[in-house]
């Protein structure tokens, strides 16, 4: 894809590449050896710190319930945030000023506030004005915080996705006599959703990671706070962090792989309009949050 940036390596360039690679490997090996030595020095490689992770109980009592809660909050937040985000994204494209402007204000507002604060506000709200019990309240608060923030981001994804569609689609729809609502629901949205799928799946990674904020001030026992209970038991703080990091990587990598697989399917089935949301189109989005999408551009062509 990017090979246009340099010539096909000739014999000299190939030799240079090999040398560079060898230097790189040597440095990397040195670094790993040094890390390993230091870990060993500080006694972090002792088997009894790692041994708990080979027992079933460490997983069934702490890690799996934690992971379950993380996935539960993430899945709920996703399922709720998606339609809400679509609604706000469409509202921002409305022809009516009185719909467009408030929707825009709401989206900008919730994007500007740290998710942790949103969760805190949600919790206070549920404490004061509802009678949700303490069993469910942290989940509600965490999901609400995640939904408010991610729906705003998804609204931008949806808006960018619809704007990225060729104008001819709207014009053709009007030409055959469809109303604005019909154009949106039966012409634009179905195409835009396909276009945006990779971006949406990437957003799930953000949601999965952000559930970790639920354990900071509220007692939602997601993976990261399950880790602290585990570490208090086995006295293995650093190994527990490493194991939890690996779990997060595995879960999220599965999701991003799914995203790129989807993207591949979409690219191959590129008939109709064939647009896929690219970095350029989602200029308005929170790039940090949809990093996956930004790299999936088919446009440009370098």
């Amino acid at each position: 894809m990017s090979s246009v940036l340099y010539d096909t390596p000739g014999p000299r360039a190939r030799r240079r590449n090999v040398v560079l690679s060898l230097v790189f490997i040597a440095l990397l090996a040195l670094l790993i050896w040094w890390l390993w030595q230091k870990m060993d020095d500080k006694g972090q490689l002792k088997w009894d710190l790692w041994e708990p992770f080979t027992t079933g109980q460490a997983w069934t009592t702490y890690l799996l319930p934690g992971l379950g809660n993380t996935l539960k909050a993430a899945a709920l937040a996703m399922v709720i945030a998606l339609p809400l985000g679509a609604l706000f994204g469409i509202a921002r494209l409305s022809d009516h000023r009185w719909i467009r402007v408030p929707a825009g204000a709401v989206v900008e507002f919730f994007r500007a506030i740290p998710v942790l604060l949103l969760m805190l506000f949600a919790n206070e709200f549920y404490v004061r004005s509802t009678d949700i019990g303490s069993d469910e309240r942290p989940l509600y608060a965490v999901v609400t915080g995640l939904v408010l923030y991610n729906a705003s981001v998804l609204a931008e994804v949806v808006r960018a996705g619809i704007l990225a569609l060729p104008k001819g689609q709207t014009e053709a729809a009007y030409a055959i006599g469809l109303r604005k609502g019909q154009t949106m629901t039966s012409i634009l949205l179905p195409q835009a959703v396909t276009v945006m799928l990779p971006a949406i799946v990437s957003q799930l990674v953000v949601i999965v990671k952000d559930t970790a904020l639920g354990g900071v001030l509220l007692q939602y026992s997601e993976l990261l706070s399950a880790r602290s209970t585990l570490a208090a038991n086995y006295a293995n703080v650093i190994p527990s962090f490493i194991v939890v990091a690996i779990i997060f990587i595995v879960v999220n990598f599965t999701l991003t792989s799914f995203a790129s697989w989807l993207e591949g399917r979409l690219r191959r089935s590129k008939r109709g309009t064939g647009t896929v949301l690219t970095g350029e189109d989602v200029e308005e989005l929170n790039a940090a949050e949809v990093g996956g999408t930004l790299s999936t551009g088919t446009g440009g062509g370098i």
Binding site: A74, A75, V127, S134, E136, L197, L266
Partner: protein
């Protein structure tokens, strides 16, 4: 177009499957607080020696033992107890809303808290103390000046050190005690400070046994009480009676020895009910 529909459908299916399986895993959420023959008690899950969720899913610690004893006196068998994790920030809310019947979670009796909840007890008199490596020469608060110290972000122990005990101490703050203890073990900090009961719980753990000692300072007085809903004097009285009985029949001392014993922790005698040491 067909292909795209399939991918869209599979994405939806995946999201749904995730949601369904995740929700399916949630089996212990029989809601309705305090109803029937169950009693809900708030404890901490991550403090060895006080309230700790063990690998087999059971709970151990001094707070847990006290709560179990009190619950028995209130007419609940151990298998009727439902433990609830109450983090510091949410304790008042949980009581005010009746989410839990009472809370035993290193809950110090203070005037500010008494405005929001009522306390039975106290059942333990703890002090802010230092945990140091065995062989360390730190023996009084002022020794800390210039030394590396660890505590939990924003905790009163941390504020005490900075304001009065040793303003020149080099203070590192983490969000949990076990991180501090890990720092102490690796030599990154010279001392960890918080209530001696909490520190003793960590020092008594198998993996840390013999590595740490308590400095034995009494830098503050922490009267651990059992939090009950504001105005629920009936429960408060019953709990106080239970606590008195626990002390008089020796169960209290037994619980102290079992949970803090290995750390060479010299406990205060059982406090008198209602007697708060300032």
């Amino acid at each position: 177009m067909k292909l795209r529909k399939v991918t869209a459908a599979s994405a939806t299916a995946l999201a749904l499957a995730l949601a369904v399986t995740a929700c399916g895993g949630d089996k212990d959420s029989d809601s309705g607080s305090g109803g029937g023959s169950k009693i809900k008690i708030g404890i901490k899950y991550d403090q060895p020696g006080l309230g700790l969720k063990q690998p087999d899913g059971s709970f151990s610690g001094f707070d847990v033992d006290v709560a179990t004893y009190v619950a028995k006196e209130l007419g609940y068998q151990p298998d009727q107890i439902e433990w609830v994790e109450t983090k510091s920030a949410d304790r008042e809310n949980a009581l005010a809303r009746g989410d839990v019947k009472f809370i035993t979670a290193t809950y110090s009796i203070t005037d500010e808290r008494k405005q929001k909840v009522d306390f039975a007890g106290p059942y333990l008199l703890a002090h802010q103390d230092l945990l140091v490596k065995t062989g360390s020469d730190i023996s009084q608060g002022t020794d800390l000046n210039g030394k590396k110290l660890c505590s939990v972000t924003g905790s009163t122990s941390a504020q005490n050190v900075q304001k009065t005990i040793a303003p020149k101490a080099n203070l590192r703050e983490y969000s949990g005690y076990s991180e501090c203890i890990a720092g102490l073990q690796s030599g990154a900090v010279d001392a960890v400070t918080t209530d001696d009961s909490i520190l003793a719980g960590f020092a008594a753990q198998d993996k840390y046994k013999g590595q740490f000692k308590l400095a034995g300072l009494k830098l503050s007085n922490e009267n651990y009480g059992i939090g009950v809903k504001k105005g629920d004097t009936a429960t408060e009285d019953k709990i106080n009676k239970a606590l008195e009985k626990m002390v008089s029949d020796g169960s209290w001392q037994k619980a102290v020895d079992a949970n803090f014993g290995p750390a060479n922790y010299k406990n205060e005698p059982a406090p008198k009910i209602g007697q708060i040491v300032q």
